[in-house]
């Protein structure tokens, strides 16, 4: 172990083994997130750095975080309005949102919509897929502030007024599509978006449309069965 620890990296770490920012083993997992306090210096670059460095999303205010108590500023120092109206599943929801907050965190921790899942929190898996103006987005990598004038649809917004399942949901039940179920809400949302823009897809088109949704159980075949069945039942309903 003669070359350990490395003298050429991070200065003379042999003398002081305190973690150096430059040492190769200063892993992202212990890097600081830039303080999620509104400040004039907060930039998009800082946010992206924070996301990349942390492996977790900046949660902003927690479910019962300190920021929830006390008066909410209508305007922060940096000029970002914090108290927003979001249109979620056809309802206008007032919510306090920090500048760097992701939509997934707002939905899950502010609005109680836990059907949207966080599998990777970095746009790799698709478990957090929601619709924004009918288009699929990874909510883990979407800033809530960017969607304030948009129509957001989550898995909770698909059922009919009397609790009847959306045809995609019913088809996924009938085809026994989910296994563990953790990726399922995202798969459902991608399928719903597909059938809205293409009510009669081929299986290959469905496969392409859902390709951004990973399933570690490998239930792809059964999900595609579900999409094709849903397309049929939607077609039959409209015929």
């Amino acid at each position: 172990m003669s070359e350990w620890p490395p003298t050429e990296v991070g200065g003379d770490t042999r003398a002081s083994s305190t973690i150096s920012e430059d040492a190769p083993w200063a892993l992202p997992m212990v890097s600081a997130i830039p303080a999620a306090q509104p400040s004039p210096s907060w930039s998009r670059r800082d946010f992206i750095k924070g996301i990349i460095a942390s492996g977790v999303t900046v949660s902003g205010l927690s479910y019962f975080g300190s920021g929830c108590s006390g008066a909410l500023p209508a305007q922060t120092v940096g000029g970002v309005e914090r108290l927003l109206s979001l249109s979620v599943n056809g309802q206008l929801r007032r919510v306090d949102v920090l500048p760097a907050e992701t939509l997934a965190m707002t939905l899950r921790y502010k609005l109680g919509l836990t059907g949207t899942k966080l599998g990777c929190d970095r746009a790799e898996c698709g478990a957090c897929t929601v619709l924004i103006d009918g288009v699929t987005h990874y909510s883990c990598s979407t800033l809530t502030h960017r969607v304030r004038d948009r129509e957001i649809t989550t898995i909770e917004g698909l059922e009919g007024p009397n609790g009847e399942l959306h045809p995609v949901q019913q088809a996924f039940v009938d085809e026994l599509s989910p296994q563990c179920g953790f990726c399922t809400p995202g798969q459902v949302m991608s399928a719903v978006a597909l059938l809205r823009r293409n009510p009669n897809p081929t299986r290959e088109e469905a496969r392409e449309a859902l390709a951004g949704n990973l399933c570690r159980c490998g239930a792809y075949h059964n999900y595609l069965n579900g999409v094709m069945r849903a397309a049929q039942s939607l077609g039959a309903r409209e015929a």
Binding site: M29, V30, F64, L176, C180
Partner: protein, 799 residues
Amino acid sequence: MAELLGKDFTPPDIVGKVTGRAKYAEDFRRDGMVFCRLLTSPMPHARVRNVDARAALAMPGVVGILLPEDVPEQEGVANNILTYEPHFVGEPILAIAAVDETTAHNAIAAVRLDIEPLEFCVDPLESLRPGGPNARAGGNALIPQEGLQEVKWTEEDFAAAGEGQLPMGRPGEEWSYGDLDAGFAASTLVLDESFVTASTSHHSMEPRTAMAYWEGGKCYLHASCQSQSNALPGAARLIGIAPEDLVFIAEYCGGGFGSKGGAYPLMAIPAHMSRKVGRPVLMRVSRAEEYVLGSARPGFQGRIRLGFRPDGRIAACDLSIIQENGPNSGFGDLGAAASAVSLVYTPQAMRYRGISVLTNTPPRGAQRGPGQNQIHCAVEPLIDKAARQLGLDPVAIRRINAPTHESLYGGNQSHITSAYLREALEMGAERFGWQERRARSGQRSGSKVRAVGVGQAFHSAGSSGFDGLVRIAPDGKLHIHTGVGNLGTYSYASTSRVAAEVLRYDWANCEIHRGDSSRGLPWNNGQFGSNTSYTMSRTNYAAAMDALQKLKAIAARELGGNANDYDVRDEAVFSRANPSRRLTYAQAARTAIQLGGRYSGMETPQDINPMTRRAVESIAGTGLIGVARDNLPQDGMVPALAAGFIEIELDVETGLYEILDYLGVADCGLVMHPTSLATQVRGGAVMGFGMAAAERHVYDPRWGLPGAVGLHQAKPPSYLDVPSEMDWAAVDQAEPNNPVGVKGIGEPLMGCAAAALLCALSDALGGHYFNRTPIVADMIVNAANGRPQAHRQLQVNTQ
């Protein structure tokens, strides 16, 4: 004739999955809940000399810190909860809780560690060299019965192996049967190959987040766990409380694949933190943390010598395995691999030598087909190589070596219960059109070549001795209490239907109780090891038979005659001689409550587990209770076997391939739930394709840093990597040791697909044996062009 078994049904938990109402561990909230984050090791092996958390604890919103001295120390080489001597990058050192996650995270970043790097190792073979590094201060190898030891092989051991071949010095474990020398002497073809099978990360979609709080002297733990009752004692032990003081909630589990089979240290951290700070604690686990803390399949460096008779029969097998075990207790993949070889290829004589070597890489654990699936990846293409040299068909050489019901298993040469691998091969070859497809193997179209492959795999698939519990309520409904867990295969539900079948219930009048230890759940095996179908059908059968006997006894008591004079139909117990003399189940349940004693659960059988006894006590007096330990006979190990058939088109210029067709055939006894089995066949295949030719496990040998932490680096298969349709079949022959003829299957369905794909890739390259999995594109291009590979032979963690 079965009314329910063998038929499709809608499992009760599926609607929650498609609506988002299914609650996983991160979906629970509690008043006053705080967030916890981990400070993990930046080094592969280190000693923390000092922690300065003053700045962190002074931050507004920080509510507490959890240090290694606050949690129970784990004995020996068990996985730690927190430690001052981390043995892998990412091992938790301490945790901090704060009112929101950002504050917790920033507090973690404000902790100053005085940390000293220690000797580390990421390659088992390097560790075995004279003077090689040890992963732990106490040694580098885990030896059965002896524990952690320092094992170094001699320079002579290494030199004796020959160029590129695996050396074998003093093994950690070994067994043999038959006359090995005579077997090789009788062989006309001897193949001798060394190989590497990569470690693979589980990467369950749900990271192992947990939430805990304390109320009324009990700890409530929401955890991501495959298993329910079986995981509870271990979780209680990690928290340091009695099992009856833990309420364990694991109603849904977002994938585990073996990595969440039982309790694991991470789930105890929120519980300890909650006790310390007096508030509910949620600990979200990031994808990067899930990579290091979420377990991985151990890789093998191995060597196998196989002796074949002219007809393809394997006369002798000499197998050596060095297992990369991670830094801790790991898992016994290596021995399981050797036993699998003994069963699937039935060599007439066999020797196995193995050693489990520690490295400073993520802790290893069971992953779908632990040991078996690695060894099938290494051996199946070698069987094809032999077939090629002997002029035999790949299916034919497998048939001649396939096990029968009389075949023996492992070093002890123990009995098995049933084996229909030969039938699976025959059924699959017929259904797949193997002969026709094989005839067009090698056809070129530009740079693309067609190829076929067949693969086999095995895993043991059944246990006994667990408890079943059912209740017939005064309204006549059947309540089935199951403590097995919910991995996502729906087998908790299909096996519950056995109780309904025995009692001839309408499934609409049955309700399953599960997912929360306060719901009166019996002691059951965990949902792992492909065992649920076999084990839980037995326990539910035993409980239902107990209920059936009680129904008949009550009828005899109320209506006269003997219990044997009665039968059940339409949810009533009736006299065979005079069917109008009958009691509905509802009436019988009310009578059971009046009678008390064993009828209503006021008395319990002597041989049930204390957990089951507590479960019965929680529902005693509320209906007719059926409760029993599964004492049904079992003679031998229960094998799950599978065969996979594949046709691919490989582009030899790019190394990319397309799977044109796949068929998986299961030997799982009688089929219980056809669509669910189909999903297992296909899902197992998807995971197998990833293992064979895509998934990466990379470690920097110089600094011991992981290089494939995220999903895009690890490359689990997506929709676009696998066929959009795959075929399945089942032998559908009854397992004699199970009252409804079933046995498990989940694990070999992965291994047979992985092996089939590897065989097809070799077939496309004229029978080239790669000595390594996964086979990735650059390896294919190198092989196709006769160029040397980029990796050193036997090097690990390279791709």
